[in-house]
């Protein structure tokens, strides 16, 4: 008899637990509270000293609007993760990344058009022309541009002087060689040699291309092979495992004289590592009529996803984030080129050495392709560069295999 009571008691306790759980979820999820607390989640790739001034703008917004909480989440592999998470209704409200992903995000129905909240005329009048164009796709506005960026050479003034920085690719090779021989255990110019983005300057500088808007892949051309051979020629003078992290730490520790890197890293080098940084443009390519090495010019943008609970609020946050005063305060720390036209015209920008350095390089760049086909190129190019850098394949063979993989990928996109 006693046992039976305890069973009843247990069951009633379990039921009570369930009731409590259900009750609490209803009360927290309900919008009956007058305060209307809202949380906006932003997934981004900002890191280190670069993040702080950006975080400060969102903190200021939260202070002005006490009911709004903005959560910044740094994500690795941001784009595939966002696409998969948004489809499962588990994604962020806002994604912040470079404009090359816009085509992919639009075609995979991850982001939503924002014309209703951010008009075309607003975008065109607020931001510089190239940046305004970068957030428009298929005739609609999808978000706001934040900054314009390209990789350039940053050198450590304590280790090398401006006249030592090579101006042609041939000089660059001999510089790497002589620097490595004169300073054992140290390196000349470092960059992630197996990354498709960081090596685009060589491919485009040698006259090759990754993919055209019509889906033509250009990895098996003689120009691409020339670029591959050029990259491979640095193998004896640089570390065998040279990824972004290694390159950054070598430069930060003074073990590399110069680095090819973008504005996202500048703040860390200048403030955290305390390096006196000089700027130089990427070298010219004598093999291609002295064309300048051509980096991708990306427009860092923020888009609103299908999962956003309150797109109007998101639009308001985005406008606030990219307004004149906030952008001006931010770029003073990050050294980025602002997309906001008024901020770009400010005398502070004109006199800032870092911004001038990146702007100087950007004029020799090519816009990041924002066709969805580009999503099929990053991996094959990176894989080819890995095979080239480890020496398992010749540049020609690696790029031919990458061409095959990329063509297959492009077909997958259009299918």
């Amino acid at each position: 008899m006693k046992r039976n009571y305890s069973i009843l008691l247990l069951i009633s306790m379990v039921l009570a637990l369930f009731a409590v759980a259900c009750g609490s979820s209803v009360s927290s999820g309900g919008s009956s509270s007058p305060a209307q607390k809202e949380t906006v989640t932003i997934w981004h790739g900002w890191q280190g000293s670069y993040l702080a001034p950006k975080q400060a703008i969102f903190d200021a917004y939260m202070k002005l609007h006490p009911n709004v909480t903005i959560k910044l989440v740094n994500q690795q592999n941001l784009i595939p993760k966002s696409i998969t998470a948004v489809r499962a209704n588990n994604g962020p409200d806002i994604i912040a990344w470079a404009d090359d992903s816009l085509g992919e995000l639009v075609d995979s129905h991850t982001v939503i058009p924002m014309d209703q909240y951010i008009s075309e005329s607003y975008v065109n009048s607020t931001y510089m022309p190239a940046a305004a164009k970068a957030v428009q796709f298929n005739g609609q506005v999808w978000g706001v541009p934040e900054t314009v960026e390209a990789v350039t050479i940053m050198y450590n003034k304590k280790l090398v002087s401006a006249d030592q920085i090579p101006t042609t690719t041939d000089q660059m090779l001999s510089f790497e060689k002589s620097y490595e021989q004169q300073h054992p255990g140290q390196y000349g110019i470092v960059w992630p040699t197996q990354d498709a983005y960081y090596n685009a300057p060589w491919f485009y500088g040698f006259g090759a291309f990754y993919v055209k808007p019509d889906g033509t892949v250009g990895l098996n051309t003689p120009q691409a092979t020339a670029a591959g051979n050029f990259i491979a020629s640095f193998r004896p003078y640089l570390p065998k495992q040279l990824d972004g992290t290694t390159a950054s730490s070598l430069f930060s520790e003074g073990k590399a004289a110069a680095i090819i890197d973008g504005p996202w890293a500048y703040a860390d080098y200048a403030t955290k590592a305390g390096i006196d940084i000089g700027f130089a443009t990427l070298p010219a390519v004598p093999a291609n009529n002295n064309t300048r090495a051509t980096p991708f010019v990306g427009v860092k943008s923020l888009w609103v996803t299908k999962n956003a609970k309150d797109p109007a609020l998101c639009a308001d946050i985005l406008k606030f984030y990219t307004d004149y005063q906030n952008q001006l305060n931010m770029i003073k720390v990050t050294g980025e080129i602002p997309a906001n036209q008024q901020a770009l015209n400010d005398p502070v920008v004109k006199s800032d050495r870092a911004i001038a350095g990146f702007a100087n390089q950007a004029q020799y760049g090519t816009p990041l392709p924002n066709t969805p086909y580009m999503s099929a190129l990053w991996t094959p190019v990176a894989n080819a560069l890995a095979a080239i850098w480890t020496g398992t394949q010749t540049p020609a063979a690696a790029l031919a295999a990458a061409q095959k993989a990329a063509v297959k990928g492009v077909q997958g996109v259009s299918a």
């Binding site: 592999n77 595939p80 489809r87 570390p239 065998k240 999503s375 095979a387």
Partner: protein
Amino acid sequence: MLQVKRRTIFLYLLPIIVTILIINMTPILYTLYLSFTNNTEFNEAYNFVGLANYIHLFFATDSDLFYVLGLTVLYVGICVVLFVLLGTVTALALNHPRIKGTSIWMSLLLVPWAAPSAVTALIWKFLFNYDFGPINQIGRLFFGAHFGVPWLTNPVAAFAAVVIVNVWLSYPFFTVVILGALQSIPAELSEAASVDGANGWQRFWRLTFPLVSPAVMPATVLSAITTFQMFNTVYLITQGGPITNPARPGVTTFVMIYMYNEVLGATAANIHYAQVAAFAITMFVILGALTFLARALSLGGRAVQA
């Protein structure tokens, strides 16, 4: 005598049954459903395509299934043999009557097994670095400045590297299991065999081995299954690389790493959710069969012991 009604038992089990149905079965059934559709990154619809994804997986010339599966089986084979070998050697050593302080040795051996594998994997990744890793640095002291094993960039060396790490992490488990089995063998048996004139080698093969193997067999199969599903340790060290051919996955791309890379990894592009789902279901069937085998073997083992 307490009588419990069948219904009462069911009532008790209901919460866990519902939880299992929701948490375990829903994703499995969804994946199964997904594998019969053509859902991709650019196609949000779930159009039924029958067995097309499976046919592509098994028969397409550019399918990665057999390459990845072959790598995984090779990895499992090498790892498990080394687990048992090293586990047996250490257990026999610890079981020797002249070894003092067995408990200290045991705790020392268990450190790698008990430490979080994510942390140790990252430490190993640093140890293996070609340019700055301690292993190659020490090698340079002895063999000159140009010495260096390309641990993570050469396909064979990288495969060896992830085998070394996994063996280092897991063989202590076998030491424990085998030592337990050894200690359950009465010392009189061994003494009797000695009296009958059996040497050490004969005693091991005729006496120890048959008595220990029923206990070791299930552990081996279970460990083969976990190694088959190995993800974090290998992924943190190689991400599935090194790439030797841009048209093919890297040589340490085992099944779980392959699926991750295809959907969420840095190399994810053109995500074909449906094809990856078909791949996952195929792995599910293979692992299901292996688990079944493990169960049968452990039941068989018990029959032998009894």
